[in-house]
C-alpha cells in the first residue's frame, strides 16, 4: 500500500506546514514541498500502476464511516494539485513576504496548506457527507486566501461574491448528495450507472459543480476573485480550484447515469463558455481579469470534450468519444500548467510595477527578461500553438469532433458548430495573447513605473520555469503522458480500459520536436547572418513625426477594438468620451470599460428586485399588536372559508 503511506506523508507534511506557517516560513516551505512531492508520487503511482487505493478505517466522522479512495480519476487531479501547490507555495515565499505583508503573510501560508489539504480530501472522499464537509472547508479556505488584502474594498467585494456564489453551489450539492443518499439509502459513493432513476439528480450536480468550474452564465464570481487574490492564489484558484468543479462533473458523470439532455447541455455550454470567455477577455484592460476570463474559455474547451463523450456514451459509440474525452482531460492538466504560469507571470509584473493596468505597462522585457520569456511561452501554449501542450489537447478534442461529424449521427449537428467555434476560439485567444504580450512586455514603457520595473527573485522565477518546462514537455512528448490520461479515462468509462497510445500521437510528437528544433536553428542562423551583414540601430519608423512618445503606441483597447465591436451585443462596453472640438481643442478624454455583463445586467438587477419586494413585504412587520391580531383574524377567516368550501365533499 505505497500510495497510502505517501498520502499519509503528504498529509502529515501539510499539517507540519500548517503548524510552522507562522513562525518558521522556511520549515513551512520545506514541509509544503515535501507534501506536494509525496502527493505527486502517490498520484503518479496510481496513474502508472492503475490499481485503486482504498482505505476504510474503523473510524466514523459525523456518524459515517471514513472511506478514502484514490482511483485514476482522483489521482489525475491530485497530480495537478500537487504540482501547482508546490510551485505556488515556493512562489509565495518571495511574492507575499513577511516584510511586505506582516499581517497577512503568516496566516496566508497556513491557509495555503489548509486549501491544499482540503482539496486533496475532496479528491479522496468516497462518502457523500465527507465530500460535502471537505468541499465546504476547501471553499472557505479559498475565501480566506482571496481576501488577503481585506483593507481594500474591491477585495472584500470579490471575496463576498466568491463566498455567495460558492454557497449557492454548495446548496445545490447539499440537495444533490442528500437526495442521492435518500434514494440509495447510504452516503457511500461509487459506481451506480445502472440505476436510471438517479439520472435527474445530475442536473443538481451540474449546477453545483458548474458554479465552481465557472461555466459561462455561472462564471460571475470568477473574474473579480481571480483578479483581486494574490497571484499565487489566483494561480491555484484558476489552475486547480475551478478544476474541482470539473472533477465533480467527471466523477459523478462517471458514477451516475446522465440524462441525455444534460450531456447536450454540457457540450453546448462548453462551446458558449469557450467563445464568450475569450470575447470577454479581449475586452479587459486589467491583466489578471483578462487571464481570469481565459479560464472560462478553457473550462469551455474541457467541457466540450466531456460533453461530447457523454453524448456519445448515450449513443453507444465510444470510439471518437474517447479522443474527445482524453483531449478534455489532458486540457485539465494543460490549462492548469499554463494558466498558473501566466498568473505567476502576471504576479511578477504586479510585484515589479504595482499595477495590473495594461495601459500603464509596456517594454517590460528589458527589466524582466525571464518573466517575459516564460509569459510569452505560456501565451503561445494557451493559444493552442504547436509545439506546446495546449495544441496537443485541443488537437485531441478536434479529432474527436471531426470523427463525430464523420459519424453523421445526431451528435454531428452539434459537432459542426463546435468545430467552427473552437477554431474561432483559438484564433481569438491568439489575438488576445498577442495583445497581452505586445502591450505588456514588448514595445516601450508607457509610464515611469514600467520603466523602473525589476526582475523577480529566484523563488519566483524557478516555479515559472518549472511550469514552462512542463508545458514544453507535454507538447513535445505527449505519448509519455497519454497512459495517465488513458487510465483516468478508463476509470471513468471501464469499456475504454487499456487504450494504447494513438498512432498519430507519435507522429505529432515527431513533428513538434522537429518543428521546435528547426525553429531554434532558423532563429540562430538568421541572427548569425544579421550579425555578419552588419547591424545598425535607428528609431522605429514614425512617418517623419518629430516628437514621438511611448504613449502613442497602440493600446490594449484599440488593439481589441475590431473584435470587441463584433461582440458588443454581449460585452456592452461602457464608453466615456469627450471628443476634441474646435480649432484649438483644449481637453479631451476617452475611457472604455467592459462590465461583467451577466453579473451587472442580470444578477444584480434580479437581486435588487428581490430586495425591493422584500422591503415592501417587510412593511407588514411593524410591531403593532392590533394589526397582528387583524392578520390572525383574517387568516382564520380565510381558513374557515377554505374549510367550508372544501367541507362539502
Amino acid at each position: 500500500m505505497i500510495p497510502g503511506r505517501l498520502l499519509l506523508l503528504a498529509f502529515l507534511s501539510l499539517i507540519v506546514g500548517l503548524v510552522t506557517a507562522r513562525r518558521a516560513p522556511r520549515l513551512w516551505l520545506a514541509a509544503t514541498l515535501t507534501g506536494a512531492g509525496a502527493a505527486l508520487a502517490a498520484a503518479t503511482g496510481v496513474l502508472a500502476g492503475g490499481e485503486v487505493w482504498e482505505w476504510r478505517p474503523t473510524l466514523a466522522v459525523g456518524g459515517e464511516a471514513v472511506h478514502l479512495r484514490l482511483d485514476a480519476v482522483s489521482a489525475f487531479f491530485l497530480a495537478l494539485l500537487a504540482v501547482l501547490g508546490g510551485a505556488g507555495g515556493a512562489y509565495s515565499r518571495a511574492y507575499w513576504t513577511d516584510a511586505a505583508h506582516p499581517r497577512s503573510a503568516p496566516s496566508g501560508r497556513a491557509w495555503w496548506n489548509a486549501l491544499l489539504a482540503f482539496m486533496g480530501l475532496v479528491l479522496l472522499s468516497a462518502n457523500g457527507l465527507h465530500f460535502l464537509i471537505a468541499w465546504e472547508l476547501f471553499a472557505v479556505s479559498g475565501y480566506f486566501l482571496i481576501t488577503r488584502e481585506r483593507h481594500r474594498r474591491e477585495v472584500r467585494q470579490a471575496g463576498w461574491l466568491y463566498l455567495a456564489a460558492s454557497h449557492a453551489g454548495t446548496l445545490c450539492l447539499f440537495a444533490f448528495f442528500a437526495l442521492l443518499a435518500a434514494r440509495t439509502g447510504s452516503w457511500e459513493l461509487g459506481p451506480m450507472r445502472g440505476r436510471a432513476e438517479l439520472a435527474p439528480l445530475f442536473w443538481l450536480a451540474l449546477a453545483g459543480f458548474g458554479l465552481k468550474a465557472g461555466l459561462f452564465p455561472l462564471h460571475i464570481w470568477l473574474p473579480s476573485a481571480h483578479a483581486n487574490a494574490p497571484s499565487h492564489v489566483s494561480a491555484i484558484l484558476s489552475g486547480v480550484a475551478i478544476k474541482m468543479g470539473i472533477y465533480g462533473l467527471v466523477r459523478f458523470s462517471g458514477w451516475l447515469p446522465v440524462p441525455e439532455a444534460a450531456a447536450w447541455t454540457i457540450a453546448a455550454l462548453g462551446v458558449v463558455s469557450a467563445v464568450l470567455g475569450v470575447a470577454f477577455a479581449l475586452g479587459q484592460h486589467d491583466l489578471k481579469r483578462l487571464l481570469a476570463y481565459h479560464s472560462v474559455e478553457n473550462i469551455g474547451i474541457i467541457l466540450i470534450g466531456l460533453g461530447f463523450a457523454l453524448v456519445a456514451a448515450a449513443h453507444g459509440n465510444p470510439v471518437w468519444a474517447q479522443l474527445a474525452f482524453a483531449g478534455g482531460l489532458l486540457h485539465v492538466w494543460n490549462h492548469g500548467l499554463f494558466k498558473a504560469l501566466l498568473f505567476l507571470g502576471a504576479g511578477s509584473v504586479l510585484h515589479a510595477t504595482g499595477t495590473r493596468e495594461m495601459s500603464k505597462l509596456g517594454g517590460l522585457w528589458r527589466a524582466m527578461p525571464w518573466t517575459a520569456g516564460c509569459f510569452t511561452l505560456g501565451a503561445a501554449a494557451i493559444s493552442g500553438l504547436p509545439p506546446l501542450n495546449g495544441f496537443v489537447s485541443e488537437w485531441l478534442v478536434y479529432l474527436g469532433l471531426f470523427d463525430a461529424v464523420g459519424s453523421r449521427s445526431s451528435a454531428a449537428w452539434v459537432a459542426v458548430p463546435a468545430v467552427v467555434l473552437l477554431a474561432m476560439t483559438g484564433a481569438l485567444a491568439l489575438a488576445c495573447f498577442v495583445k497581452v504580450v505586445g502591450v505588456v512586455f514588448l514595445g516601450l514603457p508607457r509610464t515611469e513605473t514600467a520603466k523602473h520595473a525589476h526582475e523577480s527573485g529566484w523563488f519566483m522565477r524557478v516555479p515559472m520555469l518549472v511550469l514552462a518546462s512542463a508545458c514544453v514537455a507535454i507538447g513535445l512528448f505527449p505519448m509519455f503522458f497519454w497512459p495517465a490520461v488513458a487510465r483516468a479515462a478508463a476509470a471513468w468509462q471501464p469499456a475504454w480500459a487499456d487504450a494504447p497510445v494513438p498512432e498519430p500521437l507519435y507522429a505529432l510528437s515527431a513533428c513538434n520536436i522537429t518543428f521546435a528544433l528547426l525553429g531554434l536553428l532558423a532563429a540562430a542562423l538568421l541572427w548569425r547572418r544579421v550579425r555578419r551583414n552588419g547591424l545598425s540601430r535607428a528609431v522605429t519608423w514614425d512617418c517623419g513625426y518629430a516628437a514621438p512618445s511611448a504613449r502613442m503606441q497602440y493600446t490594449a483597447g484599440s488593439f481589441a477594438g475590431i473584435i470587441t465591436g463584433w461582440f458588443a451585443w454581449i460585452l456592452r462596453p461602457e464608453r466615456h468620451a469627450k471628443l476634441p472640438e474646435g480649432n484649438f481643442p483644449a481637453h479631451a478624454h476617452f475611457a472604455e470599460h467592459t462590465p461583467e455583463t451577466v453579473l451587472e445586467k442580470i444578477v444584480e438587477p434580479t437581486g435588487r428586485l428581490v430586495m425591493a419586494v422584500s422591503t415592501a413585504v417587510r412593511r407588514l412587520q411593524h410591531g403593532r399588536l392590533q394589526s397582528y391580531i387583524l392578520y390572525l383574524l383574517l387568516g382564520l377567516i380565510a381558513l374557515a372559508l377554505l374549510a367550508f368550501a372544501g367541507g362539502g365533499r
Binding site: L399, K435, G443, P504, L508, N533, V539, T540, Q553, W566
Partner: protein, 302 residues
C-alpha cells in the same frame, strides 16, 4: 535515408518555386495596365539582394525580434510540407495533420505579430490588430473547408483528404478558399500590397521595420504561403488521385498558374474594400464553405 532525401526534394520544390508566384501576379497586373512590368523573377533578385544587405534594427526591439520572422518562416514551410504535392503525395501523413497545418499557420501569425508589436510603432500595432482580427473569420472558413473535405473522404489527413475531388460542393469550396487565399495573403480586395499609406495597410505595415535577411525571410515566407494556399485550392477541386502522374502534375501546375492569374486579375479590376466591409466578405467565404459542407453531407448521404 530515402525519406530524408524525399523531404529535401520537396523542400527544394517549395523553396525554389514559391517566389515565382508573385512574379506571375505582377506580370498579369502589368499586362492589364499596359505596362511592361518587372521581370517574373524579380522576387528572386530582391531576395538575393536582401540576403546580402545589412540590417537596421529599431532601438525599441527586443532580442526576439529577429527570431519572429525565422520561426514564422519555418512554420509556413512545415505547413507546406504537410500538403501533398500532386502525384507525389505527402512525405509525412498522419491522422489529424490537417489540424497541425492550420495551427502552424497560426504560429506564423503569432510570431510576425509579436515581432511587429516589438517595434513600439502605432502603425504596426494597427496592422497587427487587423491581421489577428480578420484571421478569426478566415480560420473559421478554413476549418469549415477542411471539415467538408474530411466528411467527403472520411479522413482527417491531408494526404487522403485532398486526393478525391470535393464533389458536389467543389465550386463553393473553391470560391470560399479563393477568398481566404486573398485575405490570408494580403491581396486586394482585403489589403493592397502596393499601397504607400501606412494607415491602409495590413501586412505591409507589420513589416515596416524589418530589413535585410529578416525581411528576406518574411517575403519568402509570404510567397510560400501564397503557393501553399494555391496548391490547397487546386487540390481541393481537382481529383488528383484519379489522374495519371504526368496529368496530375500538369493539372496542378496549370491550376496554380490559373490561381495566380486570377489573383492578378482581381487585383487589376477591383479596388480595395473599406475595412469595415472586410468582415462581411470573410463571412461570405465562411458561408460558402458551410454550404459546401452541407452539400457534402447531403451528397454522400443520398
Amino acid at each position: 535515408m530515402t525519406t530524408v532525401l524525399d523531404i529535401l526534394l520537396r523542400l527544394a520544390v517549395w523553396l525554389l518555386l514559391a517566389p515565382l508566384l508573385p512574379g506571375v501576379i505582377n506580370k498579369v497586373k502589368a499586362w492589364i495596365a499596359g505596362r511592361r512590368g518587372p521581370p517574373v523573377l524579380q522576387l528572386y533578385y530582391d531576395l538575393a539582394k536582401l540576403w546580402r544587405k545589412g540590417v537596421v534594427l529599431s532601438t525599441a526591439v527586443s532580442p526576439g525580434h529577429v527570431a519572429g520572422p525565422a520561426v514564422a518562416w519555418v512554420a509556413v514551410l512545415s505547413a507546406a510540407l504537410l500538403l501533398p504535392l500532386g502525384p507525389a503525395g505527402t512525405a509525412l501523413s498522419f491522422r489529424g495533420d490537417a489540424l497541425l497545418f492550420v495551427y502552424l499557420l497560426a504560429v506564423a501569425r503569432f510570431c510576425t505579430s509579436c515581432a511587429a508589436l516589438d517595434t513600439a510603432s502605432a502603425f504596426e500595432g494597427m496592422g497587427v490588430a487587423r491581421e489577428v482580427s480578420y484571421a478569426v473569420l478566415a480560420e473559421a472558413a478554413v476549418i469549415t473547408a477542411l471539415l467538408t473535405l474530411a466528411l467527403q473522404s472520411n479522413s482527417v489527413s491531408l494526404g487522403t483528404m485532398l486526393v478525391p475531388s470535393a464533389g458536389a460542393g467543389a465550386g463553393l469550396l473553391a470560391a470560399g478558399l479563393f477568398l481566404v487565399l486573398l485575405a490570408e495573403n494580403c491581396r486586394v480586395p482585403f489589403d493592397d500590397p502596393n499601397t504607400h499609406l501606412e494607415l491602409t495597410m495590413i501586412h505591409e505595415v507589420m513589416v515596416l521595420d524589418h530589413s535585410g535577411p529578416p525581411l528576406a525571410a518574411i517575403l519568402h515566407g509570404a510567397s510560400v504561403k501564397l503557393l501553399l494556399f494555391a496548391v490547397l485550392l487546386a487540390e481541393t477541386v481537382l481529383p488528383i488521385g484519379k489522374l495519371s502522374p504526368l496529368m496530375a502534375t500538369a493539372a496542378l501546375a496549370g491550376s496554380v498558374l490559373v490561381v495566380a492569374v486570377g489573383v492578378g486579375l482581381v487585383e487589376s479590376l477591383f479596388a480595395r474594400l473599406a475595412f469595415r466591409r472586410v468582415p462581411m466578405l470573410l463571412t461570405t467565404a465562411f458561408l460558402l464553405s458551410l454550404f459546401a459542407l452541407l452539400a457534402a453531407w447531403k451528397g454522400a448521404g443520398a
